[in-house]
């Protein structure tokens, strides 16, 4: 009857989660309650399947369990309302569920659009996306973000409330809205990926899982929208960045900058896949920001050694990026490329344009890049000051340690030179 469970059921559960949620939401027309019921069904499967084996029709099993939970819930709700409003609504009954409809679109896609709705704050959208579209449990999400499970549960339930209040239907956004809504989806997936892109001790493993989850969801998005060049660009960017994960930190968890990483540790299969994706995307016409960032990453990843990096090509890409994107971060990265191509003095000159940008005020990255370029220019005294300023402003512990060590290294080499 049942297949024995080979390995962990999580991947199967996570893939089925959005399909099951789509089916149940469509039938009961109550996204919030359906989402709770599906979460309960997933938890039941995670406890039962390892002992009893995976049922022959796991999707059907999950839908059935979720439906039962939801029907129970509705019956209780109806009884509660009957008690509360017995005088006015004497005959109130639980709504009759609609028959199961055949999905018109892939439900994972609809769910991503819903969970990444622009009316949600980014932290709510991230949490809801991981649970409803990613099939992670509240406990897993809470652990990844190092907050109590109760807090994460509230964040998710608030997000669902917000969606319900804004009246967004459980269906594909209309054509006119789709491009903008897709941008929100890509942004949330990018944020989830970045959350995992950290090396802070202790929680390291769980955080890596966030990057993996972001890549899995982006891959699913790419499978549903194979012709979208920006989806390809984002997936390529994630792969090309994640390829460097094994080389990004040293044995003690310390940060190793790109130019000093052991390139033998980079994940070759990620690089090959990322390069193929970004090449295909760029052939499709005017490139968007994710494709351009992926192209920059591809140039780094394809250089056999740091000194082989094709900086003129990177600078050309940042020139295009700065025209399509208004982000000061682009100009910051561009300044590094300017310095590598035309020398540190020119790089420092382009940084000066950023000093007046309010969005960069107090941002440690501006100080960190300035310190780096000052060091390149041989002005070690000023470089030490800016490394220290950047260290005081960052909110990342490994980054602060890295910056302080840079300052210390320069101070000591100056001391030696003087002595």
């Amino acid at each position: 009857m049942s297949k024995p469970l080979g390995g962990m059921p999580e991947h199967l559960l996570r893939e089925l989660a959005p399909q099951v949620l789509g089916a149940v939401t469509r039938r009961f027309r109550d996204f919030s309650a359906a989402e709770d019921a599906v979460q309960e069904a997933l938890l039941a499967a995670a406890t039962q399947w390892p002992g009893e084996g995976v049922p022959d029709n796991p999707r059907g099993w999950l839908i059935q369990v979720a439906t039962r939970r939801l029907t129970d819930y509705q019956r209780k709700e109806a009884a509660r309302r009957r008690r509360e409003f017995s005088a006015v609504h004497a005959g109130y009954l639980a709504p009759v569920p609609a028959p199961f409809e055949v999905a018109q679109h892939d439900d994972t896609l609809i769910l991503l659009f819903l969970c990444c709705h622009p009316s949600l704050s980014s932290s709510s959208a991230i949490a809801l996306t991981l649970r409803a579209a990613g099939g992670l449990t509240t406990a897993e999400i809470a652990r990844a973000f190092l907050v109590p499970e109760a807090t994460m549960a509230q964040r998710i339930s608030r997000a669902k409330q917000r969606i319900q209040e804004s009246g967004v239907p459980f269906e594909m956004p209309v054509e006119a809205e789709r491009a903008q809504r897709l941008r929100s989806v890509l942004h949330v997936l990018y944020l989830i990926f970045n959350e995992g892109y950290t090396s802070s001790a202790g929680a390291e493993l769980q955080r890596c899982e966030l990057s993996d989850e972001a890549m899995r969801l982006t891959r699913a998005l790419h499978a549903m929208l194979p012709g979208d060049a920006e989806v390809m660009g984002l997936l390529a960017l994630m792969l090309l960045t994640d390829a460097r994960r094994p080389a990004r930190t040293g044995p003690a968890g310390e940060l190793i900058p790109l130019m000093r990483q052991d390139r033998n540790l980079w994940i070759r299969s990620h690089i090959a896949e990322g390069v193929a994706l970004v090449t295909a995307a760029l052939s499709k016409g005017v490139p968007g920001p994710y494709q351009l960032q992926a192209a920059v990453s591809a140039i780094h990843d394809e250089a056999p050694a740091a000194e082989d990096t094709d900086w003129p090509q990177i600078l050309a890409l940042y020139d295009i990026l700065s025209r399509v994107s208004d982000s000061p971060m682009v100009n910051l990265n561009r300044a590094v490329a300017v310095a590598m191509v035309h020398g540190p003095a020119k790089g420092l000159e382009s940084l000066r344009d950023l000093d007046g940008d309010k969005r960069m005020a107090g941002n440690h990255r501006l100080d960190a890049v300035r310190a780096h370029l000052l060091e390149m220019a041989g002005d070690h005294g000023a470089a030490v000051d800016h490394y220290q300023l950047a260290a005081a402003r960052t909110a990342s512990l490994p980054e602060r340690e890295y910056l302080l060590l840079q300052a210390a290294r320069l101070r000591e080499s100056r001391g030696n030179a003087a002595g």
């Binding site: 807090t151 509230q154 909110a395």
Partner: protein
């Protein structure tokens, strides 16, 4: 973004609080409970703790032989940490708003105690990649 909100109280703060009438103590406790409940329901509370009277505190330093050296006499500090919250919020403005609300906790006769609350970011952000 995570922030720690540290509530400081003056030297005599614990005594002043202990000398409040029953209703005022109850109002203060109820205020703090409601605050924590609201933070939890907003999906923002990471943890919140009140600290015991500073007179029970011990100062510890590493001794030469590696054994801890303790100091039983509390130093002549003007202010003490009375309690803290760790919150996970969207912005620094939100952390400051929460601290403002906590500082308005009622004391004698329901008037705000107006304690100072220090707001500091917790270093939990992801690092950048350096070129």
């Amino acid at each position: 973004m995570k922030y720690i909100l540290m509530m400081h109280c003056p030297r005599n703060g614990y005594d002043t609080f202990g000398a409040l009438p029953k209703e005022d103590i109850q109002a203060h406790v109820a205020f703090m409970k409601k605050l924590n409940q609201d933070l939890s329901q907003a999906g923002e509370l990471v943890s919140a703790e009140g600290l015991a009277d500073p007179r029970q505190a011990v100062l510890v330093q590493a001794g030469k032989d590696g054994a801890p050296v303790t100091d039983g006499v509390f130093p002549e500090s003007k202010e003490f940490l009375a309690g803290y919250w760790i919150v996970d919020v969207e912005s620094q403005e939100r952390a400051i708003a929460i601290a403002g609300r906590a500082s308005a906790a009622p004391g004698l006769g329901g008037r705000s105690i107006n304690l100072q609350i220090e707001v500091r970011q917790v270093m939990s952000g992801p690092p950048d990649e350096f070129a």
